[in-house]
Amino acid sequence: MPVIETENLRKVYRDVIAVDSLTLSVEQGEVFGFLGPNGAGKTTTVKMLLGLVHATSGSASLLGCKPGEPQAMAKVGFLPEHFHYHPWLTANDFLDFHGRLYGIPHEERRQRIPALLERVGLGGRENSRLSEFSKGMTQRIGLAQALISRPAVVFLDEPTSGLDPLGRRQVRDLIRELRREGVTVFLNSHLLSEVESTCDRVAIMRRGRVAGLGTIDELTGMQLEVDVRASGVTDDLRAELAAFGRIVAGDGDRMTLQIADDTVLPAIASALVNGGAQLYALTPRRLSLEDLFVRLVEGDTG
C-alpha cells in the first residue's frame, strides 16, 4: 500500500487553480522529490496531504488515513516552508512541547532532545531562545521538530532555504540517512541539485499539474539528445535523419536530434556517411535534470 496517494486532487482559491487534478503515489521508503517553479502548487499539495488545506475535489490519503487524522499524524514529521515558531520559547521548551504533543514520555523527551539538536547542528543550544536564532538555525530547529517523533514519513518544504552551503550539505546527508533508516521523505524543492542527489523519484509540477513523473534516469533518459556536426547534409538526408528522432535544433553544420535511446546512434552515423555527408562529431547527451526542468516549465515564471 502506498504511503501517500492522491487521486485527481484539486484546489481552487477563488479564481486561481493552485493544484489541478493531481494523481500520484509514493511508496514506503522512497525519497520523493516534488519539483516546480514558485507557484506551481507544491506547498498547496503538501498542505492538502497534511490536512492543513481542504481539497476542492479529489482525494488524498496518508498512511491509509484521511489527511490530518491524528492516527496518521503520529507517524508524520513536517517542516513547513518559512518555518517560524514563537520566538520567546527556548529550543528545549519548543521541542519538549512538540514531543509532548506526539505523546512521547517525559524521560524519553529529555534524552532525545539533546541528541536531536546535535543531529541538526544545534548541539548545546537547548537554552537559547528561538528569537536568538538566525534564519538557518531556525530552519534547523524546525527540522529537529519534524524528526522528534522518529516519524515514518517526513515532509520537508524547501528545507534548505536560508541555509548556507554547509547547511545544505548537512540536510542532504540527513535525507540520505533517513532513507537508510527506511523513512519516506516527501521533499518539496526548487533546488535541482539537492533533488538530483537525494531523490529516488521526482514529480515536476507545472501550473498545478504533473508535467513529468518518474525516476531521474527515466525522466532524463526519455530525453536523450544527440548533437550532430556534419557538413554536406542535404535536405533529403535531413529528412532521412528525422526518421530516427525529432530534430530539435539545427542550423548549418550542426543539428540536435531527440532520440529514444542510444541504440540508433550507429544507424544515424551510417545514414550520414552513406548519404555523402562528412561526419565530424556525433555526441549523445543526456539531459540534466535542470535542462529537463527548464524545458518542462518553460514559459512559466513567478
Binding site: 498542505k47 497534511l50 490536512g51 492543513l52 488545506v53 481542504h54 490530518g68 491524528p70 492516527q71 499524524m73 503520529a74 508524520v76 513536517f78 513547513p80 516552508e81 518559512h82 518555518f83 517560524h84 515558531y85 514563537h86 520567546w88 520559547l89 527556548t90 521548551d93 512541547f97 512538540h98 509532548r100 504533543l101 506526539y102 505523546g103 524546525g142 521538530q145
Partner: protein, 274 residues
C-alpha cells in the same frame, strides 16, 4: 491529552513572554494605589454614622472592583487577541496542527490556558481589594464568592469572543472587533440604566437586547448588585446602583453563550485553510 498540553503551553508562554510578571507588578501597583486611597478617605472622613461609613466603604470597594473588572476585560482581549490569529499569520499554526491532534484541541486548549490565567489574575486582584477594604475598615461585602465568580465570567465572555474572532480575522481586525463589540454593549448597558431611571421602557429594552450580543456588562452589573449590602440594594442610591438588574438567567445565558461561541470558533477554525 493534547488539549491540556496546548493549555499548559499557552499558560507557560505567558510566563516566558514575561506577561505574567508584568501583570503581577502592575496588579500590585493597582492594589497599592487603591489601598492608599481607601485608607486616606477613611481616615479623613468625618462620617460618624455607621450607615454612612458602610456606604462609603461599599462605594469605594465597588469602584475598585469596577476598575478591576474593566482592566480584566482589557487584559482578556489583549492576551487572547493574537493567540490564534497571530499563529496563523506567522505560520506557527502549521507546525502545531500537523501534530497528532484535532484542530478543536488547539482552540479549546488555548481557551483553557488563557481562561485559567485570567481567572487566577482576576481572583487575586479582586480578593486583594476586598482584603484591603477589610483590613482598613472591617468591611466585607455580601455574596463575595459569587461576585468574584461573576467578574471572572465577564472576562471569559470577552475571551471567548476574542478567540472566535481570531479564527477568521487578523490580529488587528480582531482587536478592533472585540473592543468595538465591548464598547457597544457598554453603551447599551448605560442606555438600559438611564432609560430605567427615566422610566422609558422602549430604551430599556434596547439596552437589554444589546446585552444579548455580549452579556459581559450585564454580568458585571449583576456582580455589583450582589456585592452590595442588602439594605443598599433595597435603597437603590449611589453611582453603582443597578436600576435594571440582570436576572440570574443572565448567568445561565452567559454560560450557554460561551459554549456556543467556543463551538463556533472550533467550527470556523476547522473549516478554514491554514
Amino acid at each position: 491529552m493534547s488539549v491540556f498540553a496546548v493549555a499548559r503551553l499557552t499558560f507557560l508562554e505567558a510566563r516566558r513572554r514575561r506577561l505574567l510578571q508584568l501583570v503581577l507588578v502592575m496588579g500590585i501597583a493597582f492594589v497599592a494605589l487603591f489601598a492608599v486611597g481607601y485608607f486616606l478617605i477613611h481616615k479623613e472622613s468625618r462620617m460618624s454614622v455607621v450607615g454612612e461609613r458602610l456606604e462609603m466603604s461599599n462605594i469605594l470597594l465597588l469602584m475598585g472592583l469596577y476598575a478591576a473588572n474593566f482592566l480584566g476585560v482589557v487584559l482578556a482581549v489583549v492576551m487572547s487577541v493574537d493567540v490564534i490569529a497571530g499563529d496563523i499569520a506567522s505560520g506557527a499554526i502549521q507546525t502545531l496542527v500537523t501534530k497528532p491532534l484535532r484542530r478543536w484541541h488547539v482552540v479549546v486548549g488555548k481557551w483553557l490556558g488563557l481562561a485559567a490565567l485570567l481567572s487566577i489574575i482576576m481572583t487575586l486582584v479582586s480578593a486583594s481589594l476586598v482584603l484591603v477594604a477589610w483590613i482598613i475598615s472591617r468591611y466585607l461585602p455580601d455574596n463575595l464568592p459569587e461576585g468574584i465568580a461573576l467578574m471572572v465570567l465577564a472576562q471569559l465572555l470577552v475571551l471567548t469572543v476574542s478567540i472566535l474572532g481570531g479564527t477568521f480575522l487578523n490580529t488587528l481586525a480582531n482587536g478592533i472587533f472585540v473592543f468595538m463589540l465591548y464598547g457597544l454593549v457598554f453603551i447599551g448597558g448605560w442606555i438600559e440604566q438611564i432609560a430605567a431611571f427615566a422610566g422609558n421602557q422602549a430604551a430599556t429594552n434596547i439596552g437589554i437586547l444589546i446585552s444579548f450580543v455580549l452579556p459581559s456588562e450585564a454580568i458585571w452589573r449583576r456582580a455589583s448588585y450582589l456585592i452590595q449590602p442588602l439594605y443598599l440594594r433595597q435603597l437603590n442610591v449611589g453611582p453603582f446602583v443597578t436600576l435594571s438588574t440582570p436576572s440570574p438567567a443572565t448567568v445561565v445565558y452567559s454560560l450557554f453563550y460561551i459554549a456556543v461561541v467556543l463551538a463556533m470558533a472550533v467550527v470556523v477554525f476547522q473549516r478554514r485553510d491554514l
